[in-house]
């Protein structure tokens, strides 16, 4: 309630609960449900790709410490490129 408490100052201004307010706002989103779902999926993929970079680097360190460097390291660079490029996609679609 604290977040919305100031909205209750004027008696004529607001005569409904926060739950009612959220319900009314949600109604505005209903026509865009599918798009909203798509945006959430894309944003989750953004988070996943961002989280992948330190994991990839950790794996790369293991490769570099061991004897089996070689092509794995080049694959690692490619994976970083891919993971770094992914965020552009959901942000672009979300903005549209």
């Amino acid at each position: 309630m604290a977040f919305f408490s100031n909205l209750d100052i004027e008696s004529y201004d607001r005569n409904y609960s926060d739950r009612e307010l959220v319900r009314r706002i949600w109604e505005l989103f209903i026509p865009h449900k599918r798009r909203l779902f798509g945006i959430i999926v894309l944003l989750l993929s953004l988070s996943a790709s961002s989280a992948a970079i330190p994991l990839l680097v950790a794996r790369g360190l293991d490769l570099m410490s061991g004897e089996s460097g070689g092509s794995g390291i080049y694959l690692l660079s490619g994976a970083v490129l891919l993971a770094g490029s992914i965020p552009g996609l959901p942000i672009g679609l979300a903005a549209a």
């Binding site: 360190l61 570099m64 660079s77 490129l81 490029s85 965020p87 903005a95």
Partner: protein
């Protein structure tokens, strides 16, 4: 854009450099150079200390990956990172605080500059400028300039330092390692230039579309009675939706351009390429493992400028578009000037019109060949059909409008040679459409003389026959009018306006059909009040009420923007067909 002086200026107020939007913004920002310095200091410090983390992480890796792990060194590194990040948080706070304070100060300053400018504009300007658009500029566009500084410029400056740090520290590990950050920097700024170029017309369109939307809204609400009376709700809804869709389309277009901004790809190429390069050097023994980790950590710093570039630059672009619109309004040509060096003297009240003509900017001629002489203290009744130019004629006396030809002399001095403030303070006009502020009755009466005593206000109210109805309210003179207050009848509003005029004790009084809404029960009282008020001052009365016309010293009959007859009531009834026709129409 034409720069002219405003009608009224407040010399103590800061006025920005109005030659262009960027100069204007800069001139306001430079007033707060110390806050900008705080912003820069915070930004450089924040980015510099952010670089400490990957650099020391690399050292930490080296400390523990040797045959003999150096735990003491690791502890020192941990302390170093903790202390530097603590300092960084303070610097970050300074950066954000400086930017926010500067943004709020600039918003206040430009809002005040715009408001003062609007108050100083001529009536011609205000007649032509849609209120909704002005409101959009005075509220949202001003707000956009605020957002331009915080978060806009705050993040732009902050993130720019995150681009610089890898350029500074990467060559420390190996000179060739500057390649990846250098590639990013060059391509980032090239892409940014193109991005801003594409964004500029779109952000200008966003602001313009919002102005149109507001104009439509203001006009529909202002004319709500007409809309409802003519059952045009559906049409208005259609129009409003059309403007709302246009505003949305501009925003989507902006989002489309933002989405195609390529720094994410550039960052990914730089990081992947940089990592590959570092590993390649490591395999050739030019780097140790800790250097690779530290270098890649530095490349990760590029993520901040990449991410914020999606919205920070469009915020800056919107701010510049907003500033351009505000400045366009401020700089728009003003017909009148204050003439601070003009004549300042108590008026006697002589008014002479000499071959006066006037046309509104639309080109329609409202007045032509007006010649009239009014002696000090005379009462002049102006009569004529609707649209004959009666109101326009009196509005030339206090320079609400300036005559387009001829001269109006007040006490023998051309009105354009009077100090405008001095002239207007001594002329009081009560309009047909009386405006009362949403304040107390006392404040409304004392509007033209804020330092008036309670006794003076009461005397003015009694003279205007308003005291009785004012004291019938529970709060008396402290009753608030309008929104959240009492609603007044047309007659009550007019009596308050008369009280307001009486209080300023003007030397020239203009009553523009101001007693039209007074009911017959109070008409006699108000007639006596006006008669009393007219004594000792030049009074113009625009009316068709015979009771007011009869005692006028001169009656001026107007038709199609010209004076067709001047004389007393008896004379005009004998000689003027136009005058007789007015009273025949009134009688019916």
């Amino acid at each position: 854009m034409t720069t002219t002086s405003a009608e009224f200026t407040l010399p103590e107020y800061h006025q920005g450099d109005r030659r262009g939007p960027l100069r204007w913004i800069l001139s306001h920002a430079l007033r707060y150079w110390y806050l900008f310095a705080l912003l820069i200091l915070g930004a450089v410090g924040n980015a510099g200390l952010a670089s400490v983390v990957p650099i020391y992480t690399g050292r930490a890796l080296e400390a523990i990956s040797g045959a003999q792990p150096q735990l003491d060194a690791l502890l020192n590194i941990a302390w170093m990172i903790a202390i530097t990040q603590l300092i960084r948080s303070v610097l970050q706070f300074g950066r954000n605080f400086g930017a926010e304070l500067m943004a709020q100060n600039i918003e206040r300053d430009i809002r005040a500059e715009l408001y003062i400018s609007l108050l100083g504009k001529s009536m011609t300007f205000h007649n032509l400028q849609p209120v909704g658009d002005t409101m959009a500029r005075a509220t949202n566009d001003v707000r956009e300039v605020n957002f331009m500084f915080s978060p806009g410029i705050n993040l732009v400056v902050g993130s720019a330092n995150f681009i610089i740090m890898p350029l500074i520290f990467a060559p420390g590990y190996h000179p060739a390692l500057i390649a990846a950050p250098l590639f990013f920097t060059i391509t980032y700024f090239l892409a940014l230039g193109q991005y801003l170029h594409e964004l500029r017309p779109i952000t200008a369109g966003v602001r313009k579309a919002f102005g149109r939307l507001n104009t439509r809204l203001a006009e529909a609400l202002d004319g709500i009675e007409t809309v409802k009376g003519m059952a045009q709700e559906q049409q208005e809804i259609g129009l409003f939706q059309q403007y709302a869709s246009s505003f949305r389309d501009y925003f989507i277009h902006q989002g489309d351009v933002e989405a195609r901004f390529v720094p994410f790809l550039l960052m990914a190429i730089s990081q992947a390429g940089g990592l590959f390069h570092a590993i390649w050097l490591y395999q050739r023994g030019a780097l140790v493992l800790g250097d690779v980790v530290a270098y890649f950590g530095l490349l990760l710093l590029l993520g901040f400028p990449t991410f914020i570039s999606l919205f920070a630059y469009s915020q800056v672009s919107l701010g510049v578009a907003g500033a351009r619109r505000i400045l366009e309004l401020i700089n728009r040509e003003n017909d009148l000037d204050q003439n601070a060096e003009g004549a300042v003297a108590p008026l006697r009240g002589e008014v002479i019109f000499r071959e006066v003509a006037f046309a509104y900017e639309t080109g329609d001629t409202s007045l032509n060949g007006i010649n009239l002489r009014i002696q000090p203290g005379q009462t002049v009744a102006i009569v004529g059909q609707t649209g004959s130019g009666k109101t326009t004629l009196v509005k030339l006396i206090n320079r609400t409008y300036d005559a387009t030809a001829g001269q109006i002399l007040v006490d023998g001095v051309d009105v354009r040679d009077w100090n405008l403030e001095s002239l207007r303070q001594q002329i009081s006009i009560i309009e047909q459409d009386i405006f009362l502020f949403s304040r107390t009755i006392r404040e409304n009466i004392a509007f033209g003389k804020p330092d008036a005593s309670a006794a003076e206000i009461e005397t003015a109210a009694r003279t205007a026959q308003a005291h009785e109805f004012i004291t019938s309210f529970n709060e008396g003179y402290d009753t608030v009018i309008g929104e959240r207050g009492v609603t007044l009848s047309g007659g009550q509003r007019q009596r308050l306006a008369l009280a307001r005029a009486f209080l300023t004790n003007p030397h020239i009084l203009v009553l523009d059909d101001s007693t039209s809404a007074i009911d017959s029960a109070t008409e006699d009282h108000i007639q006596r009040a006006i008669y009393a008020a007219a004594q000792g001052r030049t009074t113009f009365i625009i009316t068709h009420r015979l009771s007011q016309i009869r005692w006028a010293d001169q009656i001026v009959v107007m038709r199609n923007g010209r004076i067709v007859a001047v004389g007393s009531h008896a004379e005009l009834m004998q000689t003027s067909e136009a005058y007789r026709r007015i009273f025949q129409e009134t009688d019916h």
